[in-house]
Each structure stands twice: as structure tokens, then as C-alpha cells.
């Protein structure tokens, strides 16, 4: 298993990526420490719609944390495709079938690799959010960050859920067909968005979305949020395991048993 995981790590250019992430995280922490929100109050303050004062540095760095978390989802999505695609391109799967691995080891290695990647990205997101929040001025920017923090776990749970489906498709159907289904689904999603923009009153929908009211709602419903935080990873991991078992059943013919 270790060897297969390392192969996947190499195929996604892991070493370079880890160096990049570490440097990026260090730079972010350094910027945050050098420009704390509570030190540059007068020069960087802006007034929100409701008249409250917001620190711009905090908002910018808040956005960086958001973007980082969203980028992680894209990276995991890309890696799911890369680790399966590179094996298929290099015809490695039939090679591994000839190796004395235990049954399902190959499939398990893919699922474990993505799980490790999600764990690493989640941990890094936590470091980003903690560093960002520690030097933040009190006020709405901090409330937004806390809202981001509360949603991180459900967000990564969603990432795992999507990966479970993608890995299943890539391993069972192969890269070509899986990509076709994925692109088809994304096109359908894009068409739905276009339909809303063209034929629905989206401005009225957008008016209803107010980040501060969401923050207030989150403060009121702490029990529900805690329940969501507790259950979302548990349910998602069960689904992930289910997808792995289903994948093993569907790929039974492609694997050899050396037990």
C-alpha cells in the first residue's frame, strides 16, 4: 500500500506541491503577523451598509482564506482525475494486477490517498483560519471568519463525498467515460445557472442572501450547527467507505486474488 501511495504522490508532483503549500502558508502567516487588523485601524477602515466599521485588511485576508479553502477542493478534484488517469495512460493497472498485492489494495490506495489529501488540506485550512483570526480586529470580519470556520468541516465533507463518486466513476468506467459523465453533469449545472440568469429574477434571490443574517442565524442555531459538524464527517466517511466497497464489487473482475 505504501508504495502505491507514494506512486500517486509522485504522479501529482507531491513534493513540489508540499513545498509550495508550506511556503505559501508561511508567507500568509507572516503577512498576517506583520499587518494585524487591530494595529492599522484608522488607515484601513471602511463603513459597511449598516454603518458599522470594518477593517479592510481583515476582509482581504478573510477572502484569501476563503479562496484557499475553495482552491483545495479544486486540487482534490484534479488529483482524483490525475491519480486514476496517469495509471490508465501508462497502462499501470494491468501491471499492478500482475503484482502480488492483496485483493482491493489498488482501489484502497486511491481512496486512502484522497482521504490523506483532504486531511492535509483541512489541517492547513485550520492553520490559515487560526492565523487569520488571531490578529483580527473585533467586529464583523471576525464574525465572518467564524462562520467560515464553522462551515469548513461540512465543506470538506462535501469534497470527500464528491471524490467518492468521482473515484468510483474513474475506477469502474475508466477515464474517458468518467470524464464524459463529469463534463455532462457540469454542463447541466451551467445550463441551470444560465437558465436562472436569463429567465428568473436572480437579483431578488441575491437580495435575500445577506452574509450578516447568515452569521446571526448561525449564532442562534448553535445546536443544529454542532450536530451538522458532528454528523457531516461521520455520514460522509460512511458514504466514502460504501463507495469504496461498491467499487471493489464492480471491479472484482479486474483484480487478481493473491491471498
Amino acid at each position: 500500500m505504501g508504495g502505491l501511495l507514494y506512486k500517486d504522490f509522485v504522479s501529482v508532483r507531491g513534493k513540489r506541491f508540499v513545498c509550495f503549500l508550506c511556503i505559501f502558508t508561511l508567507i500568509f502567516i507572516l503577512i498576517r503577523v506583520m499587518f494585524p487588523g487591530d494595529r492599522f485601524l484608522d488607515d484601513f477602515m471602511t463603513i459597511a451598509e449598516d454603518g458599522s466599521r470594518i477593517n479592510l485588511i481583515d476582509i482581504i485576508l478573510d477572502m484569501f482564506a476563503w479562496i484557499f479553502i475553495f482552491m483545495n477542493m479544486l486540487f482534490i478534484n484534479r488529483w482524483t482525475m490525475e491519480i486514476c488517469g496517469s495509471d490508465e495512460n501508462n497502462k499501470l493497472r494491468s501491471f499492478f494486477a500482475a503484482m502480488p498485492y492483496e485483493k482491493h489494495t489498488y482501489i484502497a490506495s486511491k481512496y486512502v490517498f484522497i482521504l490523506i489529501a483532504v486531511y492535509v488540506f483541512f489541517s492547513l485550512s485550520q492553520i490559515w483560519i487560526i492565523s487569520c483570526g488571531a490578529f483580527m480586529s473585533e467586529g464583523k470580519a471576525r464574525d465572518i471568519l467564524m462562520a467560515v470556520n464553522a462551515m469548513t468541516l461540512p465543506f470538506y465533507s462535501l469534497t470527500i463525498f464528491i471524490s467518492a463518486i468521482e473515484l468510483f466513476l474513474f475506477l469502474v468506467l475508466g477515464k474517458g467515460r468518467a470524464m464524459m459523465i463529469k463534463v455532462g453533469f457540469l454542463l447541466l449545472l451551467a445550463l441551470c445557472v444560465i437558465y436562472i440568469f436569463l429567465f428568473k429574477d436572480y437579483s431578488a434571490m441575491l437580495d435575500k442572501i445577506d452574509i450578516f443574517s447568515i452569521v446571526q442565524w448561525m449564532e442562534k442555531n448553535s445546536f443544529f450547527l454542532t450536530l451538522l459538524q458532528v454528523l457531516s464527517p461521520v455520514i460522509t466517511l460512511l458514504c466514502y467507505w460504501g463507495a469504496y466497497r461498491l467499487c471493489c464489487i464492480c471491479c472484482a473482475g479486474k483484480e487478481r486474488d493473491y491471498d
Binding site: G2, S222, T226
Partner: protein, 307 residues
């Protein structure tokens, strides 16, 4: 001292220098002068807690300097591999569940020792809903497992590097393992000293502050270290220890919402928050010692029968 032990000692000193240096620099730079742990606020506390990553960073740096390599599994490795074979999954299960058991039992012991601390409405003053209180241990276990990176930062260093080195250094003596645990616990406890001095873990309002706090931390770390080393050695991985440490740090207990320590003061007030968990931990260590001792004896007997 043999050459082998001398080189192990050198490696350990390098590791400790980096582990203490990196963490203490972070603690000293980012903790504002004159502020206590509670005055820092939750976000600043979390940032300072990132100093927990120092031991694992020190581990990596030490391996780079000493050229010990970065093997993931096996003897002399970083012990990062995960295996559930040969019933090793039990230690992962234990790592998740045990902190809840000893924290809850510890709280029950505290109430038995000092019934006046029990307040059935205390959770209201903490601004926690009753149904949320019931969810807290499970939330602690889930968040402990998923957010175990900070605890991994410590365990990757203490259990992944320091304890194997100490065990080797004290090898060959009848009480060698015990000395390794004591030294390991004291080192680990002293590492927390800057935080203990600003009131982390035990606060600032106790007699003998901060020296008795540091001593208490050393005792706690020794006991905790024994359990963590046990799960690390049995599973061959630092991950169960990291998970256990993380779940332990969330303090998972329903009874926390029913205990008001402010109702006791003086020496009783100082010892009580600490006593319950310690008593239960000593009991757990006793059970572990009995179980492992019995297994060892059975193994010896079986060997003598086959000879």
C-alpha cells in the same frame, strides 16, 4: 555508556533543543507581556497552540541533521504508517473512546470526593443548551479525530522520536522503562512551562503558582505519556497517540456542565480539578500493566513449556 547510547543521547539533545527552542520562541514572541491565558481570547489561544507543531518539526530537522532517514514504518522509523491488521484497530478505537471514559469517570470521582462542586444548573451559566451538552463528548471525539493535526505535531515528536530514544538510553536496566517514562514525562511537562506560567491548564489562582502548576503538569504528562506510549508501541504508529491526545484536549465530558470549581477554594480547589482524572489514569495504567504483565508471563511460560 556504549558508543551507540552516546550517539542516541546526542540525537536526543539535538531534538530537544529544536523542540524547546521553536516552541518557546513562539510562546515568548506571541504571548503579550503580563497577559494570562484566559485574557488572550480564544483565537489568540488557538494561534499559540500552533506551537504544538514544534516537536514534529524538530523531529524532521533532527533527522535531517543526524541523517537518520525518513522511514515511515519499522524500527527507528517516524512511525507514521497506519495498520489495522493483527487487531491493531483496537488501539485506534481505544484512542478515540478512552479519553471520554477517563474524563467522565474523573469528573464522577471529583463529585464523589467533593459533592459541593456539583451544580445541576451550572451549564446555564456557561451559556450552553442542555441538548448541546449531551452532544459535546461526541463532538469532541469527532473533532479530535479530524482536527488531530496539532496533537500530531506533539505526538510525532514526543512519541515518534523522544520516547524511542529514551527507551534505548535506559535499555538493559530492570527499571529502565520506568525511568524512560519519568524522564519523558518531566521533559514534556517542562516543555509546557511557559504556558503553565500564564495560567494554561490550571489557571493562576492557586497556591504555589506557577511552580506547583509545572510540577502538576509534569505528573500529568508522565501518566498521560505512559498511556500514549503504550498505544504507540502496540500499534506501531504515532497516530493513535495523536488522536488520543487530540480527543483528550477537547475535554470530552457531559459532567463538565455540572461542575463548578469556584465552590471550592484553597488547597482543595487547587488539587480537585486535577485529582479525578489522575486517579482514573493511574487505574488505567494499573490495568494496562496487569494486562501486559500477564501476557508477558504467559509468553514466558509457553516458551519454557516448549523448551
Amino acid at each position: 555508556m556504549t558508543e551507540d547510547k552516546k550517539s542516541e543521547l546526542k540525537r536526543l539533545i539535538i531534538y530537544l533543543a529544536f523542540s524547546f527552542g521553536l516552541a518557546w520562541i513562539m510562546f515568548l514572541v506571541f504571548i503579550p507581556e503580563g497577559k494570562t491565558w484566559d485574557e488572550l481570547g480564544q483565537l489568540k489561544q488557538s494561534f499559540i497552540a500552533l506551537g504544538m507543531l514544534a516537536p514534529v518539526i524538530a523531529h524532521v530537522i533532527t533527522r535531517l541533521i543526524t541523517k537518520e532517514g525518513f522511514a515511515m514504518t519499522g524500527e527507528g522509523s517516524m512511525m507514521l504508517g497506519i495498520s489495522f491488521k493483527n487487531r491493531k484497530w483496537i488501539f485506534y478505537f481505544l484512542a478515540i473512546l478512552l479519553p471520554w471514559i477517563y474524563t467522565e469517570l474523573g469528573n464522577a470521582v471529583k463529585i464523589l470526593l467533593c459533592p459541593e462542586i456539583y451544580d445541576p444548573k451550572y451549564y446555564i451559566s456557561l451559556d450552553i443548551e442542555k441538548r448541546l451538552l449531551l452532544l459535546l463528548p461526541i463532538a469532541g471525539m469527532v473533532s479530535g479525530v479530524i482536527g488531530s493535526f496539532a496533537a500530531f505535531g506533539e505526538e510525532g515528536g514526543w512519541r515518534g522520536y523522544m520516547m524511542p530514544k529514551l527507551t534505548k538510553l535506559f535499555e538493559g536496566k530492570p527499571t529502565g522503562k520506568l525511568w524512560a517514562f519519568i524522564f519523558g514525562g518531566v521533559i514534556w511537562g517542562l516543555w509546557h512551562a511557559p504556558l503553565t506560567c500564564i495560567g494554561h491548564n490550571f489557571g493562576t489562582e492557586y497556591p504555589g503558582f506557577p511552580y506547583l502548576g509545572i510540577l502538576k503538569m509534569c505528573i500529568f504528562c508522565t501518566l498521560m505519556g505512559i498511556i500514549l506510549t503504550f498505544v504507540t508501541e502496540k500499534s506501531g504508529s504515532v497516530w493513535p497517540a495523536a488522536i488520543m491526545h487530540a480527543v483528550n484536549n477537547t475535554n470530552p465530558s457531559i459532567l463538565n456542565g455540572y461542575i463548578d470549581y469556584e465552590k471550592v477554594s484553597g488547597l482543595k480547589g487547587m488539587l480537585l480539578p486535577f485529582a479525578g482524572r489522575m486517579i482514573v489514569m493511574v487505574l488505567i495504567i494499573g490495568i494496562l500493566a496487569l494486562v501486559t504483565g500477564r501476557k508477558h508471563n504467559t509468553g514466558v511460560k509457553e516458551k519454557s513449556h516448549t523448551m
